[in-house]
Every structure is written in structure tokens, then in C-alpha cells.
């Protein structure tokens, strides 16, 4: 008589085997420094995610090729936030619990980063933000609450002020229309613009926000065309800018009403999509390839060599720089212990391609914003501006 395995027993046995297989400890065994990169790898922001990951991987490769940090190599693990807070938290949880990441660099979208802060605080994992610009992130960090969050990127408060100041003083614009992305980033940047507008005698005539993934701007652009606005304040997504630019030509505002703000106006392919619409665009960026410093230029060349001639964007640079910053902090701390690295980071004086970086008591790095204008199809840098942030008491 053959014994057939009881179905229940079979399931239990498989379950136990599966559990055993999954519980292999991925950590200390391999001795590497495990760095999780949370970024939007799919969805409307995937362009940023792709550049962010590649910038980080380039930095890790450079450091590992030079022998690692105190002999230990960096392992980069990618997490896909899809640009939404829900998925971002899920990806971070996975990186912390399953992949045993000690340090996390993430996210690009401010909305996601804000959602990640309590998660890493709870787990005691260091979150180094490299690309989100909403000031709330560091209002609530360091002395403001979240001790495990640091940001190595300038904020929108500085950005909004720089843009509106240039537009009003150098260009004489007083009437603006708003067309920004409907996220924490887009809305907050416009809020800050409104805060500084009275100083420059400016006024906002129409205010519209577009959903990520929106493709039809004709109605809004026609409204803006007829409103008498002199410039369009746009804090938006890189992938949407070519669509808006094309439709600006259709509706008849190209060349008459410039775009000001930030949405990767300076990228070559965007300008090529509709040169007439982007002529005279004013942008405040944390970085662009044309920035003239030896370290920056060297980075551009290395990136192009590594990735088949593709030009890096802002996000590639900031993630590259931040991985290197983290490596320096780990070196200064003399160990991979998270608390020691965190302390080393708050005291660090790091020599970056944009100048010396130090963190203030809210774990915010002191960094300038580059102001550029598109002239003759090329971005021309008009200056770099810094500001000390006035934290709410």
C-alpha cells in the first residue's frame, strides 16, 4: 500500500522549507556597506529615477574601484517608489527589512520623501535625501524632529526667491500665470513664490495645476494667452515640458510668454522639441552640465563615458555627489555603525563640485541655486545664489 502525502502535511512542509530559504541573513556575512536607493523607476517621474540610480551606481563603482571605504565595498540596492508615497514606503520597508540596508538615499519626489521620514526614524536607518526640494522635509529634521533625515539639496524657498527676483528685476515682469505640477513640489514652490511676490510688485493672474500624466494643455494655454500674463511660472516635470512647449507653439504663446521656474528647461532634447517656446526661459537649478568647475566637468565626462555618451542631468549629479558624501562620512566615522555615521555627517566639511558642504542644525546642507536663462537655444548661467534659511520657530 502506497502512502500518499497528506495534503495538509505537504503544505506545512513546503511552508517551512520556504521560510528557511527566505530567512538567510543577507547582512554582515558579506561585509559590504548596503546602500538602498529609493527612486521613481517607473511612472511619470521615471526619467529622474533612471538618472538618479545611474549617478549613484557610478559613484559606487568609482569608490569600489579605488578599494572601497576602509576596505569595504558599497552594494547598491534599487527600490522603486513609482513616484507615489505608498509605493515609496513599501520599497523602503523592503530595503530595510529584507535587503538589510543600513543607509538609504531617497526619494526624488518631495511627497514621497515626506512619507519616508517617519519610516526611517522608526527603524533608525539613515535617510540621505539628494533631490527633494520641499522645505518641509528639513523644517522637520534635525532640531525639528526627525534625527535620521539629512538633505544634500537646496530648497524651493531659495529657488522661488531667486527666480522671481531675476524675473522682476532683470526682466521687468510683474504679471504672472501659474502652471505647475499638482504635487507637494509644485504647490509649495508656488506658495513660496507668492510669499515673495509683493516684494517685487508682482501679481498672479491665473493659477492652474496639472496632474502628472496630463497631456492636454491647450485650454489652459489659451486662457493664459488671453490673460495678459508676461511669464508662466512653471514648477513641473521634465517629461511634461516638451508637451507644454509644443502646445505653446500651437496656441500661439511661444516666443511671447517665457517659462520661468524649474522643469528641466535646460535639457538639450527638451529645447530641441520646441526651441521657440523655450527661448528666454529662466530656470533655477541645483546643477546643470554647463556648470564650470573642474570636479563638475570631470563628473560629466565620467558619466558620458560610462553610459554611452548620454549627458547626465541634475538628478544624476546630486545622487553621485551624495553617495560620495556618505562615503566620506563613513570614513570619518571610522565604522559602518549608523549612529556614528550620522554624527560624522552632521559635523562634516565636504568638498563638493558646487563648493564646500556643511549641514545646519536642521540637517540641511548649505548649497547654492544656479540661475540660468535659455539664449539662442543654449542655457547661459547668470549666477549662483545662496540663502540662509529662516526656520519657523
Amino acid at each position: 500500500m502506497t502512502h500518499t502525502l497528506d495534503r495538509r502535511a505537504f503544505c506545512i512542509a513546503m511552508g517551512l522549507i520556504g521560510l528557511r530559504a527566505a530567512s538567510t541573513d543577507a547582512r554582515a556575512e558579506d561585509g559590504t556597506i548596503r546602500l538602498g536607493i529609493v527612486a521613481p523607476m517607473s511612472g511619470p517621474n521615471s526619467r529622474y529615477g533612471s538618472f538618479s540610480l545611474r549617478g549613484a551606481q557610478l559613484a559606487a563603482k568609482e569608490i569600489n574601484d579605488a578599494g572601497g571605504i576602509g576596505g569595504r565595498k558599497i552594494t547598491i540596492i534599487s527600490g522603486d517608489s513609482q513616484g507615489t508615497p505608498v509605493e515609496g514606503v513599501s520599497a523602503t520597508r523592503r530595503l530595510i527589512d529584507l535587503d538589510k540596508a543600513d543607509f538609504i538615499i531617497g526619494d526624488v519626489s518631495s511627497s514621497v520623501t515626506l512619507a519616508l521620514q517617519p519610516v526611517v526614524e522608526d527603524a533608525g536607518v539613515l535617510l540621505l535625501n539628494a533631490a527633494s526640494s520641499n522645505p518641509k522635509i528639513t523644517y522637520g529634521a534635525g532640531a525639528g524632529g526627525f534625527k535620521w533625515t539629512f538633505r544634500n539639496y537646496p530648497t524651493d524657498e531659495n529657488r522661488a526667491l531667486v527666480v522671481i527676483q531675476y524675473a522682476a528685476e532683470k526682466k521687468g515682469f510683474t504679471k504672472f500665470a501659474v502652471l505647475s505640477v499638482d504635487t507637494d513640489y509644485g504647490r509649495a514652490a508656488v506658495e513660496f513664490t507668492k510669499k515673495y511676490l509683493p516684494r517685487f510688485k508682482g501679481q498672479i493672474l491665473t493659477e492652474d495645476y496639472y496632474k502628472e500624466g496630463e497631456v492636454d494643455f491647450r485650454s489652459v494655454l489659451a486662457k493664459i494667452r488671453d490673460s495678459g500674463a508676461q511669464a508662466i511660472i512653471m514648477y513641473g516635470l521634465a517629461d511634461t515640458t516638451p508637451i507644454v512647449a509644443r502646445q505653446m507653439i500651437e496656441v500661439g504663446v511661444a516666443g511671447k510668454i517665457p517659462l520661468i521656474g524649474n522643469a528641466e528647461f535646460n535639457t538639450e532634447s527638451t529645447i530641441k522639441a520646441a526651441p521657440k517656446a523655450l527661448e528666454g526661459a529662466i530656470e533655477a537649478a541645483a546643477w546643470l552640465p554647463a556648470w564650470d568647475s573642474p570636479k563638475s566637468k570631470a563628473f560629466v565626462e565620467k558619466f558620458k563615458a560610462e553610459y554611452h555618451g548620454e549627458m547626465p542631468n541634475n538628478h544624476a549629479y546630486v545622487h553621485w555627489e551624495t553617495v560620495r558624501l556618505l562615503a566620506k562620512a563613513i570614513e570619518a566615522a571610522g565604522s559602518g555603525d549608523r549612529a556614528k555615521v550620522r554624527d560624522a555627517l552632521s559635523k562634516i566639511k565636504y568638498d563638493s563640485a558646487m563648493g564646500e558642504v556643511t549641514f545646519d542644525d536642521h540637517n540641511q546642507a548649505r548649497l547654492p541655486m544656479i540661475l540660468l536663462e535659455i539664449e539662442g537655444g543654449k542655457p547661459v548661467i547668470k549666477g549662483a545664489y545662496s540663502a540662509e534659511i529662516d526656520y519657523p520657530r
Partner: protein
């Protein structure tokens, strides 16, 4: 002031035409298969990807790319239709929902896996603006409106006079009687499905030049925008769908201008709620057909 409103109405007619072509496919599929095709937007996306691929990698001109986009979608539709859609005929409605949702996920993510998650730039098409009655429109948009008219006239003729059209109407009325009379129901279902998917693909290819961005997830919002249109027009009602699509397009345009761009998407869903509450069989159907 009047020209402003007129311009927005023209914008509305343009977006309405896009919705109309997509929606009529979905409503025909419902009429014959009794299944809401939740993957319908994905065929729109596949058509666009097919055309994009033809332009980027095969370096073919735009008109040829249109044909390739639609053809590629037709091939996929044959496969999906053969293995999935035909089995939905006569099955309980839940089957259709689950099956098409599953297909949507598979198609979306296969495309993202193959081509990557980033946005692609669609470089073909006639985007030069042309002036009509004082309104500037990209030539492509005029093309969309013309194609929409042709599609509906063609469908009207087909459904009324052609053998296939009559078979479609028969299947949508009573499947058992069709079997008695000798109509090959699975074949009709398959062909209707392919026709619907190709129409969606055609809409995608025609809109790609003005929407510029091509990415794997672009079909999802199309599916959700089309649902209010087909319910407003009456499920299975081709003529009703045309008018519903135009109404929705114009309403969206006016809301985007006078209320705010961020409220554009709410129009479709608000309309859906209102129609379901007061006239669930659709604005243009005399009584519920199902």
C-alpha cells in the same frame, strides 16, 4: 469673450473625437461580448508604441507608422481574442472584469519590461499649426476630427447594411437565437474585439504627435476616461457614444479653462456618478438594453 468660448469648444471637439474613437470600440465590445474591456486603454497604448517603434527603430515615415501601429495591435488582439475574449461570451460578468483587468496588467508591464519605464518622445506627425476660422490648431488635430467622422460614418454603414454588422447586432440581442439561426458567435465576438482594439490603436497613433509622451502606463487613464463616455452614451449604443464623447470633451475643456486645469479629470467621473444615479441606461438610449 465669445471667441474664447468658441475656441474652448473647438478644443473640446478635438479631445471628444479622441474619446469617441476609443469609446466606440469599447462599447461595441460590450455590446457583443457583454464584458467591459478594462484593457481597452492598453490597445491604445500598444498602437502608440507600435508606431513609435516603427519611427524610432525602423525609421519609417509617419503614415506607414500608423499602419504598423494598428497592425501590431491587431496581431496582439487576435491572440488575446482567441485565448481569452472568446471564452467570455456567455460567461458571468465577473469573468470579463477579471480577465480584462489581468490582460491590462500583463500588457502594461510587458511593455515596461521590454522598453523601460521612462517616457519616450514621439517625433512623427503633423504638428504644424494651421489656421481655421481664426483658431490655430495643429494639423494633426484636424486629422483626428476628420478620421473620427469617417470612422463613425463607416461604422454606421457597416452596422446597418453589412452582414457582419447585422451579425453583431444579432449577437448583442440574443446569443441562443444566433446559434439557432446559424451565426458563428465566437467568430463574431473575435472580429468585433479585433475591430474595437484596432480603433483604440488608431486613436492612440493619431493622438501621439500632439500628446508627445509615450509610456507603458498611458493606457490606464484612457480606460478610466472612456468608461463614463460609454455609460453616458448607453452601453452598446454607437451613436450615443459619439455624442457622449463630444459632450465630455467640451465639458472638460470648459472646466479646464474656467474652473482650473486640476479639475479636468473630475468632469468625467462626476458625470459618471450623475448618469448612473439618474439615467443608468445612458442619456441616448430609450431603455436599458441589458
Amino acid at each position: 469673450m465669445l471667441t474664447m468660448i468658441a475656441e474652448q469648444i473647438v478644443n473640446g471637439i478635438v479631445s471628444g473625437s479622441v474619446y469617441a474613437i476609443v469609446a466606440v470600440g469599447m462599447t461595441m465590445i460590450f455590446g457583443v461580448l457583454r464584458a467591459i474591456n478594462f484593457a481597452h486603454g492598453e490597445y491604445y497604448m500598444l498602437g502608440t508604441f507600435g508606431a513609435w517603434f516603427a519611427i524610432e527603430y525602423l525609421e519609417l515615415p509617419y503614415p506607414v507608422a500608423i499602419v504598423i501601429g494598428v497592425a501590431a495591435t491587431a496581431v496582439i488582439a487576435v491572440v488575446v481574442g482567441q485565448f481569452v475574449m472568446q471564452r467570455i461570451v456567455g460567461a458571468p460578468p465577473e469573468t470579463g472584469v477579471l480577465a480584462t483587468l489581468g490582460i491590462a496588467l500583463v500588457l502594461q508591464n510587458t511593455v515596461i519590461l521590454v522598453f523601460g519605464g521612462g517616457y519616450k518622445f514621439f517625433s512623427g506627425g503633423y504638428i504644424e499649426p494651421v489656421s481655421i476660422f481664426g483658431f490655430t490648431l495643429a494639423e494633426q488635430r484636424v486629422l483626428i476630427i476628420i478620421v473620427c467622422m469617417l470612422v463613425f460614418v463607416g461604422l454606421e454603414l457597416m452596422v446597418t447594411y453589412s452582414r457582419f454588422g447585422k451579425a453583431m447586432r444579432a449577437v448583442s440581442q440574443n446569443i441562443e437565437c444566433c446559434a439557432v439561426v446559424g451565426i458563428d458567435v465566437p467568430q463574431v465576438a473575435l472580429r468585433t474585439f479585433i475591430l474595437g482594439a484596432c480603433l483604440a490603436a488608431l486613436s492612440g497613433v493619431l493622438t501621439a504627435p500632439v500628446n508627445v509622451s509615450v509610456y507603458g502606463g498611458m493606457g490606464e487613464i484612457i480606460t478610466f476616461k472612456t468608461l463614463p463616455v460609454i455609460i453616458m452614451g448607453g452601453l452598446g449604443n454607437v451613436r450615443g457614444t459619439f455624442f457622449a464623447a463630444m459632450i465630455l470633451g467640451i465639458a472638460e475643456s470648459l472646466v479646464a479653462t474656467y474652473v482650473g486645469l486640476q479639475f479636468r479629470d473630475t468632469v468625467g467621473f462626476a458625470t459618471l456618478m450623475l448618469v448612473l444615479m439618474w439615467r443608468p441606461h445612458g442619456l441616448f438610449s430609450m431603455q436599458a438594453r441589458f
